[in-house]
C-alpha cells in the first residue's frame, strides 16, 4: 500500500471504526528489505534441513523397526492364521493367546522380578566400579598404570564365550587365585577346607561385576577413563586448594560431571544383563525345579504347553519361531520403557558442568 516516496511518515489507515493499521513498509530501504528476504530464506533453509533430518531419521528407524513390525503382527496370529497363505502381516482372527501363555505358563512375573534384581545389582556395581577404575587410570600416575590399561583392553578382546569351560569350572568350585584349580588349592580352600559351589546363585555375576570383568566391562572402564581424561585438571586442583581430599573431590566434583556417561553405562549393563543368555546357560542351566531360578531367557527357551500345536500341524517350526519372537518382544519391552525414562537424564544431566572463565 505504501509508496516508496513517502519516506518520512508511515501510512495510517482506518480499517474499522475502532482499529487502525499502521504500515511501516515505506520506511525500509532496499538494502534492509533484501536482508529481511534473506533472513526469511534462511528460515526456509533451516526448515527444509529439519524436514530432511526428520525424513532421514524416519527412514533409519524404519530399517531398525521393520523386523519388529513383522514380529508384532505375527504375535497376534492363531495357529490357523499361520497356516493360511493369504494371511500376511494382518491376522484374520487376532488373539492374545501367545502373550497369555507366555505370561502365565512361563511365570513371566517371577522371571521379571528375578531378572530385575540381578540386572539392577549388576548394573549399579558395574557402573560404580568402572567409574572408580576409569578415574584411577585417567588422573593418577602410578607404577603399572599402563599395564592395568593393557589388562583392560585384554579383557575387552577375549570374549567370555572363548573361555566358557574355564569359567564354568572356576565358578562350580569357586576359589580365589587358584591356578590349575584341579591340582592346587586356593585361598578359600586353605581357610575353610572346601571350595564354594556358586552355580544357581547370582554370586558369579556379582563377583565378575565387582572385579570389573563382566560382559563388556572393559568397554565401560575405557569409556570412563577417556571421559575423565577430558575433564580439565583445574577442577581438581581448585578443589585441592580449597582443602578437599582426593575421594571427596571425586565424589562431589568429578562424579556429577559424569552423569551422562554413568547413565549410558547403566543402560548398557542393565540391558545386556537383562537379555543375557550366555551366563544363563553357564550358571543357571538346569531342569531340576529345586535349583531352578526363573530368568528372562526361560521365557524364550521354554515352549508354553498350551501352545504346542497338534500332531500333523503343517508349520511347526514357523509357529515355534513366532512364539519365540513374541517372548523376545516381552523381554525387551521393559527395557524400552526404562530407556524412555533414562534418556531424559541423558538430556538434562549436564547443565552445570565446565569451567567458567
Amino acid at each position: 500500500m505504501a509508496s516508496m516516496n513517502e519516506e518520512s511518515t508511515p501510512v495510517v489507515r482506518r480499517e474499522t471504526k475502532n482499529s487502525i493499521s499502521v504500515d511501516f513498509e515505506g520506511k525500509l530501504t532496499f538494502k534492509e528489505r533484501l536482508i529481511q528476504k534473506l533472513k526469511e530464506a534462511n528460515t526456509w533453509i533451516t526448515a527444509g534441513v529439519n524436514v530432511l533430518k526428520f525424513i532421514l531419521m524416519l527412514g533409519v528407524s524404519f530399517v531398525i523397526l521393520y523386523p519388529f513390525l513383522a514380529r508384532i503382527a505375527n504375535s497376534f496370529m492363531t495357529q490357523a492364521d499361520v497356516l493360511d497363505a493369504t494371511v500376511s502381516l494382518v491376522p484374520k482372527n487376532p488373539t492374545l493367546e501367545i502373550y497369555q501363555a507366555i505370561i502365565f505358563e512361563n511365570n513371566y512375573f517371577e522371571g521379571f522380578i528375578n531378572t530385575l534384581l540381578l540386572s539392577l545389582m549388576c548394573a549399579v556395581i558395574q557402573m560404580m566400579v568402572s567409574c572408580l577404575v576409569g578415574y584411577g587410570l585417567a588422573k593418577f600416575k602410578f607404577k603399572g598404570n599402563s599395564i592395568v590399561m593393557i589388562a583392560v583392553i585384554v579383557t575387552m578382546v577375549i570374549p567370555h564365550s572363548a573361555l566358557q569351560t574355564s569359567i564354568m569350572k572356576h565358578f562350580a568350585s569357586f576359589d580365589l587365585a587358584t591356578v590349575l584349580s584341579w591340582q592346587y588349592p586356593g585361598i578359600i580352600e586353605l581357610v575353610t577346607g572346601d571350595a564354594l559351589d556358586l552355580t544357581f546363585t547370582f554370586w558369579p555375576l556379582f563377583i565378575l561385576s565387582i572385579g570389573g570383568l563382566a560382559f563388556k566391562n572393559g568397554l565401560y572402564i575405557y569409556l570412563m577413563r577417556q571421559f575423565f581424561k577430558g575433564v580439565p585438571d583445574e577442577l581438581e586442583e581448585s578443589a585441592y586448594v580449597d582443602g578437599s581430599g582426593v575421594f571427596r573431590t571425586f565424589f562431589q566434583i568429578i562424579l556429577p560431571l559424569a552423569v551422562p556417561m554413568m547413565i549410558t553405562i547403566f543402560l548398557f549393563s542393565f540391558s545386556w544383563q537383562w537379555t543375557d543368555e550366555f551366563y544363563h546357560s553357564l550358571f543357571f542351566y538346569t531342569d531340576d525345579p529345586q535349583f531352578k531360578v526363573i530368568l528372562m531367557p526361560d521365557m524364550y527357551t521354554q515352549m508354553p504347553p498350551s501352545l504346542i500345536p497338534p500332531n500333523g500341524y503343517g508349520a511347526k517350526t514357523l509357529y515355534y519361531n513366532i512364539v519365540q519372537n513374541t517372548a523376545g518382544m516381552l523381554i525387551i519391552a521393559p527395557l524400552i520403557i526404562m530407556y524412555l525414562f533414562c534418556q531424559r537424564y541423558l538430556v538434562e544431566g549436564i547443565e552445570r558442568s565446565g569451567i567458567v572463565g
Binding site: 602410578f142 571425586f250 551422562p260
Partner: protein, 343 residues
C-alpha cells in the same frame, strides 16, 4: 583481631628471618634442598596410593579371578584330550602336546589364514563407516527436533539386539524367511532388492568418475546398511553421552564470536568428542572381531566340536592378532585425540 594480626606478623617475620638465614649461610641451604625433594616425593606417593585405591577392584579381580581362568584356558591348549579305558570305564587322559596345536593352526588347517585375512578386510571396510554413521546420527539426535525422544528410543533397540539372546531370535527369523520381504536383513541374499537397486547406485557414481575403489566402497555400504545401522547402536549412544558432556557455555561463546554451525562442529564438537572417537574405534574393532557372526569366530567355533583344545589354541592366536591390530588402530586414532588439559 589484633592478636591474630600480631601472630601473623610474627610468623611472617620468622619466615623472613629464616629466609635471611638461608641466604646468609651456605649450610642450611644444603639441608633445605633434600627436605623439599622428600616432601614433593611423598605427595606424589600419596597420589599414586590414591590411584591404586581407585584401581584396586579391577586389579584384585584380575589377579584373583580372571588370571586363573586365563591360565587354565592357556594350559588346556598345550594338551591333547583322549579317552582311554581304565578298568572298563572310559576316562579322560591329557597328554602334553606342547606347541603343536599352534603350529598346526598355520600349517595344517585349510582355511585358518585365509579366514583371518578376510575378517581383517571386513574390518577395514566396517570401522570407518560405523564410526562416521554413529557420529552423524548422534549429532542429529543431540539437536532439538520433532520426535527426538521417540527416535532416541528407536535407536536404542540395536543396543539391546547386540546380545546373544536377540541374536538367536533374529537367527531363527532369518532361517524361516520371516523378515525378508522388501528389506535387506543382513543375510546378503536379498541385499538392496527392496530399497535401492545396486546397479543404479553404481551407475550414478560411475558417471561421476571418482574411481573404482570408492564406487565399490559406497555400493558395499548401501548393501550393508542394515548391518551398519544395527552394529552402530552402542557407538551412537557413547557419542551421544559424549556430546551431552560438552559444556553449553562453550557453544554460547562460539555463537557470541559469530562462528557458524560448520565451524563450531569442527573447532569445538569434534575435538571435544575425539576421546570418544578413540573408544569407539577400538570398541568397533573388538566388536567386529569377536562378534559371533564374524567368519573367524564361526570357523573356530566349528573347530570346538572337533577338538576343543585345538580351538582354544586357535582362539589364542586370533586374540594376539586382534591385540596387534588394536595397537595399530589406537596409535593412528590417538594422534587425533584432544584432551582438555594444560600440558
Amino acid at each position: 583481631m589484633e592478636e591474630t594480626i600480631s601472630q601473623e606478623t610474627t610468623v611472617a617475620e620468622q619466615i623472613t628471618e629464616n629466609a635471611a638465614e638461608v641466604v646468609e649461610n651456605d649450610e642450611p641451604k644444603v639441608e633445605e634442598k633434600p627436605q623439599r625433594r622428600r616432601r614433593s616425593a611423598s605427595l606424589e606417593k600419596k597420589r599414586a596410593m590414591a590411584g591404586y585405591v581407585f584401581v584396586l577392584p579391577f586389579i584384585l579381580g584380575v589377579l584373583l579371578v580372571y588370571l586363573p581362568i586365563l591360565i587354565d584356558s592357556i594350559w588346556w591348549s598345550f594338551f591333547i584330550r583322549s579317552y582311554v579305558p581304565v578298568d572298563g570305564v572310559m576316562t579322560e587322559v591329557y597328554t602334553p602336546n606342547y606347541f603343536n596345536f599352534y603350529i598346526n593352526a598355520f600349517v595344517e588347517s585349510p582355511s585358518f589364514v585365509t579366514t583371518l585375512l578376510s575378517s581383517i578386510q571386513q574390518l577395514l571396510f566396517e570401522v570407518p563407516a560405523i564410526i562416521i554413521f554413529a557420529l552423524f546420527i548422534a549429532v542429529v539426535l543431540n539437536q532439538k527436533m520433532l520426535g527426538r525422544a521417540a527416535f532416541r528410543a528407536i535407536f536404542f533397540v540395536p543396543v539391546i539386539i547386540a546380545t546373544g539372546l536377540m541374536d538367536s531370535i533374529n537367527g531363527a527369523d532369518i532361517a524361516t524367511g520371516q523378515t525378508q520381504a522388501g528389506i535387506d536383513d543382513g543375510t546378503g541374499a536379498s541385499a538392496g532388492a527392496g530399497i535401492i537397486n545396486m546397479l543404479d547406485v553404481q551407475y550414478i557414481f560411475q558417471s561421476m568418475a571418482i574411481g573404482g575403489e570408492l564406487v565399490t566402497y559406497v555400493v558395499g555400504l548401501v548393501n550393508n546398511i542394515y548391518n551398519i545401522i544395527n552394529y552402530s547402536g552402542v557407538q551412537m549412544l557413547i557419542f551421544l553421552a559424549g556430546l551431552q558432556s560438552i559444556s553449553p557455555s562453550i557453544y554460547e561463546a562460539c555463537r557470541i564470536d559469530g562462528a557458524t554451525g560448520w565451524e563450531t562442529f569442527w573447532k569445538v564438537t569434534f575435538p571435544m568428542i575425539s576421546p570418544m572417537i578413540l573408544v569407539n574405534a577400538i570398541y568397533t574393532v573388538i566388536d567386529s572381531f569377536t562378534r559371533s557372526s564374524n567368519p573367524m569366530m564361526v570357523f573356530i567355533n566349528g573347530q570346538t566340536t572337533v577338538d576343543p583344545h585345538y580351538a582354544i589354541a586357535m582362539y589364542w592366536i586370533y586374540f594376539v592378532v586382534v591385540l596387534l591390530i588394536i595397537g595399530v588402530v589406537a596409535a593412528i586414532a590417538s594422534t587425533m585425540v584432544f584432551y582438555q588439559r594444560k600440558d
